[in-house]
Amino acid sequence: MSERRYDPTHDEWVTFATHRQDRTYKPATADCPLCPTHPGGPATEIPRAHFEIAVFDNRFPSLSPTPPTPDVAGTDLVPVEPAYGHCEVVVFTDDHEATLASVGERRVRLLVDAWAHRFRALAADPRIGYVLPFENKGEAVGVTLHHPHGQIYAYPDVPPRPAREQRAARHHRDRTGRCVFCDVVAQEQGGPRVVVEGTHFLAGVPPWARFPYEVDVWARDHVGTMPELDTAARDDLARVLARVLAGYDEYFGFRTSYLLGVHSAPVNVPDDERGLGHLHLEICPPHRGGGKLKYLAGSETFGGAFLTDVAPEVAGPRLRDAAERATVPA
């Protein structure tokens, strides 16, 4: 089964991809499907013996450009539609033991270009409404393949959280005439919650952090998508992101698990709607210190109301100090 069903009680779509139950689950290193294919060795997803970054169509996609007919018929109340879209896998390195925090600033810079390239290619499909690059890292967030990689989902509409951002941005603009993210950057720069200050990007624990050590990376200028960044801005994003990730490992003292998502302007929408989008990354580790994890419990799951255990004014300086101490490979 691969289909989308509309939830009229929450005004959102849910995707069913039951074939993903059979996807590769925590294979042994020797059986890693994301490692390069070595001469004489078993074939993996990537035919080359060496590569820097490889991006390919997910073998077990939740969304597909050729989705099957839904298993059930929809109703006026609960429409059902094919799960149209694109799902790509982004492999950051051919080194199975590396992490995005360890591959170095230059590889992160290459990743920024790869994200930009794939964003533009996926946005070229007029049936796509939103492109979301993300990384799920570490067993603490349920990763099933340990080889360092991320994913890109291209949805047929704007998913709930980015859609909520768009509504908030419109409300703020109607009220003030300004971009809400530009105002956040103006407020946060130089403040106690800043983790890394770049020339084109600012990383900080947001005042409203949902996770104890959440870090958002905001574009300083009002830019909507990765392809719009010039060379200097991409260089700076790579520098800031590499230092934030190295800082996490320095602070926690181990390879930090996290969820990382890139929020951009929606695509294939009117210019007015697109203009509300402001490029930023959200990085959410589940760790809250002392070996404890932050779980999405009752309030978060049923109330949509996050409870955070560490004040952003405390987390910010901790992560900033760690980021300054951290060694970031070139």
Partner: protein
């Protein structure tokens, strides 16, 4: 949606194939190499390689 110069962005098979002509934009690192290929089962793969430092 249209590209920066007002031209339609290239599509191939409704965007399923990598768009070899869709570059990464003006900000790409000098010497970047982008190589779209097709896997034996028909899926697309694109390799990104940084240019010389």
């Amino acid at each position: 949606m249209r590209g920066e110069e007002g031209q339609p962005w290239p599509t191939a098979d409704a965007g399923r194939q990598p768009c070899a002509t869709a570059d990464t934009g003006e900000g790409a690192m000098p010497g970047l190499v982008v190589e779209p290929e097709t896997l034996p089962d028909g899926r697309s793969i694109t390799y990104f390689t940084a240019g010389p430092e």
